[in-house]
């Protein structure tokens, strides 16, 4: 079965780590360059970017990359990431890996209107 890049047993070679900073909370963590920004955060028990489906389908992990180079490693749902978003560095943290030190701001919104009675869903 497919495993996330870098976790296959017997994988050779040194693993590179870079620092990722979540600007909203000033949280930072060391992320492997072969894992997604979200996997890196989640694996270390850090918080800041909401963790949802981890498959590019739900958008709760959407971030604005403020600085640093990254690469897309998985397809992202077009419903939530437009061409314009891609061009502007607005991506799903579960689908991109850092190539160097990266800082991001969280923009995926967690909708909370649903628990308010009588509130039309918006």
């Amino acid at each position: 079965m497919d495993v996330p890049a870098g976790t296959a047993p017997g994988k050779q070679g040194a693993v590179e780590h870079v620092v990722v900073t979540i600007t909203d909370t000033n949280e930072n963590y060391r992320c492997r360059t072969d894992e997604s920004l979200l996997t890196g955060m989640h694996r270390l028990g850090k918080r800041g970017i909401p963790v949802g489906c981890r498959g590019g389908g739900c958008s709760v992990c959407k971030v604005q990359v403020i600085a640093g180079a990254y690469e897309q490693m998985r397809p992202m749902s077009r419903e939530y990431v437009s061409e314009e978003d891609l061009a502007q560095g607005r991506v799903l943290a579960c689908c991109v890996r850092p190539l160097e030190e990266v800082s991001v701001a969280v923009i995926g919104k967690l909708h909370k209107s649903i628990t308010r009675p009588g509130q039309p869903a918006a």
């Binding site: 079965m1 389908g57 739900c58 749902s77």
Partner: protein, 309 residues
């Protein structure tokens, strides 16, 4: 007497972002049997103990989510009657020709107020479960491959006008309400569980900020022990898990919520109680949603109300 009209959930067509990656996931990790592919490149699966040709269809798309969810009805006369009843209730329907889905008869298709496309059909080829109809063995080899649920069991769908969708299922399609989560006002339903059978639910709706959303498609496994086996297989295969293994207070089922390779949530579900239409509904005030979802840990899982595909 007994179950007639709408019989059971019959198929879910799910959009995936990478067809072969998810085909492999549904086949090898979830352990469904791939039963065919069509000219549109859709991949068809069935769970091992289902006898009809397929229950899950996946399709390559640029966004995740659910294309449609279908129910099998008892016969063509029922199909025609339910279509007429829907129309009389003000629900527009269209017919999808026989054969548009492999091995499947004509389908009646309509959109419910939460934005989901629902289908009814009477005919799908009986391909059997690999065991004889005379003196059958209890299970085939396929029953041990991957998680290997016995059937696709139900779906939870998210959208704004929960009341509108609920009413169509109850007033027209003959479903009954088994359980509900209600808001602080004591009446606004945040989520409803609806049954057309003796199951605690065949479909459920949750009030969500966006229409047409998939919360999860659920697969039935026989025992709590097999839920734990499913958890092992998920971890071995790096499947992102959302909640569980635990027991839902709601429906009392043992459960794991997890995600396919495209971020569509699925559930492996065992147990619950036997339900009848005359039974009083069970109510979960919103402040008890933590127990409702995760009875073991009483933990508020924010993703339940926020993560959809």
């Amino acid at each position: 007497m007994g179950i007639n009209g709408v019989l059971r959930p019959g198929h879910a067509q799910i959009r995936v972002l990478n067809l072969e990656e998810d085909a492999k996931f549904y086949r090898e990790v979830l352990g469904l049997e791939e039963v065919g592919r069509d000219a549109q490149d859709r991949v068809y699966f069935k769970a091992w103990d289902e006898r009809d040709h397929h229950s899950v269809i996946i399709r390559q798309a640029d966004k995740a989510g659910l294309d449609f969810f279908g129910f099998k009805v008892s016969d063509n006369a029922t199909l025609n009657k339910l279509e007429a009843d829907l129309n009389a209730y003000g629900v527009k329907t269209e017919r999808v020709p026989a054969g548009e889905l492999l091995a499947t008869g004509e389908r009646v298709r309509f959109t419910v107020p939460t934005g989901h496309v629902i289908e009814l059909y009477a005919e799908k080829k009986d391909v059997g479960n690999g065991l004889s109809y005379s003196n059958p063995a209890p299970w085939p080899a396929q029953a041990e491959k991957g998680i290997a649920p016995t059937r696709m069991d139900h779906a939870l769908l998210g959208g704004g006008d929960l009341d509108g969708s609920r009413d169509i299922f109850i007033n027209v399609l003959g479903f009954y309400l088994t359980e509900e989560v209600v808001a602080e006002d004591g009446k606004t339903q945040i989520a409803v569980w609806l049954s057309c059978s003796n199951k605690t639910h065949d479909i459920a709706f949750v009030r969500a900020p966006e229409d047409g959303k998939l919360h999860h498609v659920s697969y039935w496994i026989d025992t709590w022990e097999k839920v734990l086996r499913a958890a092992d297989l998920m971890s071995m295969n790096h499947v992102p898990v959302d909640i569980g293994p635990t027991r839902h207070g709601i429906t009392r089922g043992a459960t794991i919520y997890a995600f396919d390779r495209s971020g569509n949530r699925f559930e492996t579900f065992a147990g619950g109680y036997i339900s009848y239409p005359d039974m009083h509904k069970l109510t979960w005030p919103i402040e008890h949603l933590p127990e409702g979802l995760d009875y073991a840990q009483r933990k508020l899982h924010e993703t339940f109300l926020t993560v959809f595909s």
